[in-house]
Every structure is written in structure tokens, then in C-alpha cells.
Amino acid sequence: MNKLSALVTAELRKVVATRSTWLLVALAGVCCAAFVTLEVVLYDVAVVSVYSMAGQGYVVAMIVGILVVAGEYRHRTMTWAFLVTPRRSRVITAKLLACGVVGLAIGVLAAAVTVPLALILLSMEDGPLFAPGVPLALLGTIGGTGLWCVFGASVAALVRNQTAAVAVALVWTLYAEWFLVMLVPAVGRWAPSGAARAATGWTRAELPVPGELLPMWAGAVVFLAYTVVLAALARTTTRRDVT
């Protein structure tokens, strides 16, 4: 039986060697920079919410996760993976673990873009530069970005078709769920996006409809639970014929 660590390393090598990965990582940095600027310029919000914009690479992390799995089906390279490792759930496990590593790396890079920019922007305002909750919020953004990448990979294992997986994931998280978080927070805070956002320390204070997200720890637990359930489902979907 080939070692799981070797399978994960092989996945990571493929991700690093793929050009689209780096374009997406750059996009994650741009997203964070844009959102942290908007947050400071447009809204008068808590300092923690400004730093929580380091979590705005989540969409990109999710797409990277989708490409890692659905890309293999699209290019029919999954056949090679299954020939090397006939126990297919192992192939998926390796991909999900690799996505965890990649997502965490994207989260760290996103924080590295966001924190200096936040300091610069906040120093131009009159308010405080820092708050005690910021380190924990940054931890939440990094961990959350890691989980989003696993989340995306799991969605792709279930959907398989790359275009469909990207479309479904984007429409669901950016429109359907965000609509709930903004306008129906009693429901939205339990959705993956709402829970994940709570884990970044962000609050709904700036939104017109009153309501609260889950507490930070609860958001983290709920989003982790979503990811674990989806990942477990993803590991069971490998019985289909590969034609």
C-alpha cells in the first residue's frame, strides 16, 4: 500500500506546477486588498472586522479545491490516480489533505497582504490600529480559508463536472447564502458562509437588517462540521465506473 504522505506530496507537486493555481492565488490577494479597503473606506466598523477581511480569499481557495478534484475528472487523469491507488477513497483523502495544506497557505498569504494594508489604512483614520481580538480573528481567517479549499474539493468530488461544480459553488456561496446572511440572518448564520464568516471575527454591524452571526467559536465549529460531513460524503462517491 502506497503511503498516504506520498500521495499527498504528489498532489501538492501537481498543484504547485499548475499555472492556474498561481493566477488564483494572486486573485486571492487582490480580493483581500479590495475588501479591506472597502471595509475601512465605506464603513465605520470594528477593528476586528477590518482584519477579518483576510478571509476574503475564501472563494478563491474553494475554486482551487474544486480544480484539484474536478480537473482530474475533466482531463481524465483520475484514471492514472486510480490505477496507482485502486482504493479510491484513499485518492480522495490524499486530495482533501493536500487541499487543506494549499488552503492554509492561501490563508497565510491572504493575511500577509491584509495585515499591512489594514495598518496603513487604519493609520489614516483616527481610530485604533489594533484590538485584542485581532490575532484570533486572523487565525480564524487562515483556518477558514484552509477549510474552504477542502470544502471545494469535496463539492467537486460529488459533482465531478468542473464547470458545474464551479458554477454551483459560486452561485450558492456568493448569492444564495450571502443573501441569507445579509437579509435573513436567523437562517444565514447557520449556512456554511455565515458560519465561516463568523469564525473570522466579522460582525454584521454594517448591514441594514439587524441580527447576529454565531459566536466566533460556534461559527468555527459549525463550518468545520459542514466540511467534515461533505468530505466524508466525498470519500464514499468513488464507486462509480471510470469510463
Binding site: M1, A6, K14, H75, P86, R239
Partner: protein, 227 residues
């Protein structure tokens, strides 16, 4: 040694393979011949554990592919010529396979030399010709130095020189006591390449013929009498 016993598979209402039984002996190149849609690819994919049979077994040295310890060191497979990520280099494809399978990295250079693809190894597969992809697929199959080779239409896209080389390679491979099963829908190709030819039609085995100059006549007779 490949043993296929009473193998059956349907996709919906389409019966792809029906009660197929045959053996492929070591030391020979065995052709797998039949019209398009005869069930060749489905059978090979069942041998390789990629498609689950409805009934019957496909064993390699007495073991199902999916139960083999480190399968790529025992069976090499060439399936689709297009199954590569266009943005990755041929070398990276082989290196990640080695890594995942626990095969030493030096095999990458060896197989690239063997299939004469070393010069193009660091180019993206997206720029490869069909023949180069076919060579890369064969290189992938050879990584684990397997005793059994299963090849689905490996001559597709190869130029005459490439086909000549492939024929010589498979012959030499079989002469060292290894097992080669190679599918094709091109009769002349198999008549030059194989020792024996299994003829399938509509998912059934209709004849086992020795390869030779009379193969075409015998094939047509077998196909017609099976209908």
C-alpha cells in the same frame, strides 16, 4: 497471466460485455480484436479495476487488480491517449506517478529514454502530438517495470515509424516471458504485432485465431457466423 471468467457488464440497457471468458498466457502478445463498440475497452477497464463487472471475474496472476499490492509494478496500462493535464509537463506527470506509487525517481529518465521522449519531457503536454501522448502513456505504463501490459489501441496516432517501434517493443517484451494484451480495431496492425488474436463482437468472444496472413479471412468468417 490474465484470466477472464464469465465476465459481464451492462450500461443501462446496453449490454457491453456478455459472459466473456479467455486467458492470456505469459510470453505472448495477445491481440484483442473487434469492431468499434464490441466491448474491448470495457473489458480492459474491468481487468484494471476501473469498471465494476456485473458478473464474473478478471484476475491477474490469480488476483483482482484492485487487490494487488502495488499494482503498477505488476500491471502497466495504456488507456486513453488524451488523459493528461495539458498544462503539466510529461516529466512532471511521470514524477508524480512515481511519487504516488513509491517507485524510484530514476525510472522517469529510463522510461523517457525507452519511449524516445526525453527531448520533449520538459514541455507541456498540451503541445504534444497524439503520437507523443501515446509514447508518454506507454512510458507511464512502463514506470513500474510490470510483467503484464494491457494496452488499449496503443497504435492510435503513432506514425509508421512509431508503430514499427511499438511492434518491436511489445515483441521483445513478450519474449522475456511477460504478458501483453493489446486491443485494436485494425486487423493488419494486430496480424503483424500479435501471436494470437481474440476476436470479440457484441461483447462475446467469437474466435481465438493465430495471427498470420490468413487473419483477415478467418476474422470475417468468425464475425459473420457469430451474427
Amino acid at each position: 497471466m490474465i484470466s477472464v471468467t464469465a465476465l459481464s457488464k451492462s450500461f443501462g440497457s446496453v449490454r457491453a460485455v456478455h459472459d466473456l471468458t479467455f486467458e492470456v498466457a505469459p510470453g505472448t502478445v495477445t491481440g484483442f480484436l473487434g469492431p468499434n463498440g464490441a466491448g474491448k475497452t470495457t473489458t480492459l477497464r474491468m481487468i484494471l479495476g476501473l469498471v465494476r463487472p456485473d458478473a464474473g471475474t478478471a484476475l491477474i496472476g490469480g488476483t483482482r487488480y484492485t487487490d494487488l499490492e502495488s499494482p503498477v509494478t505488476k500491471v502497466g496500462a495504456v488507456l486513453e491517449s488524451t488523459a493528461f493535464h495539458p498544462g503539466r509537463t510529461g516529466r512532471l506527470h511521470l514524477e508524480t506517478l512515481c511519487l504516488a506509487a513509491g517507485i524510484p525517481d530514476r525510472r522517469v529518465g529510463e522510461v523517457l529514454t525507452e519511449v524516445d521522449l526525453l527531448a520533449a519531457a520538459d514541455r507541456r503536454v498540451g503541445g504534444y502530438s497524439l503520437g507523443m501522448r501515446q509514447r508518454l502513456a506507454l512510458a507511464s505504463a512502463l514506470l513500474g517495470d510490470p510483467a503484464v501490459l494491457v494496452l488499449d489501441e496503443p497504435a492510435n496516432g503513432l506514425d509508421p515509424e512509431g508503430i514499427h517501434w511499438l511492434r518491436g517493443y511489445l515483441r521483445a517484451h513478450a519474449t522475456t516471458g511477460r504478458t501483453v494484451l493489446v486491443s485494436s480495431h485494425t486487423l493488419t496492425e494486430l496480424s503483424l504485432m500479435a501471436d494470437d488474436v481474440l476476436v470479440v463482437s457484441e461483447g462475446r468472444l467469437v474466435a481465438e485465431l493465430p495471427a498470420g496472413p490468413d487473419l483477415e479471412d478467418e476474422y470475417l468468417t468468425a464475425i459473420r457466423s457469430s451474427r
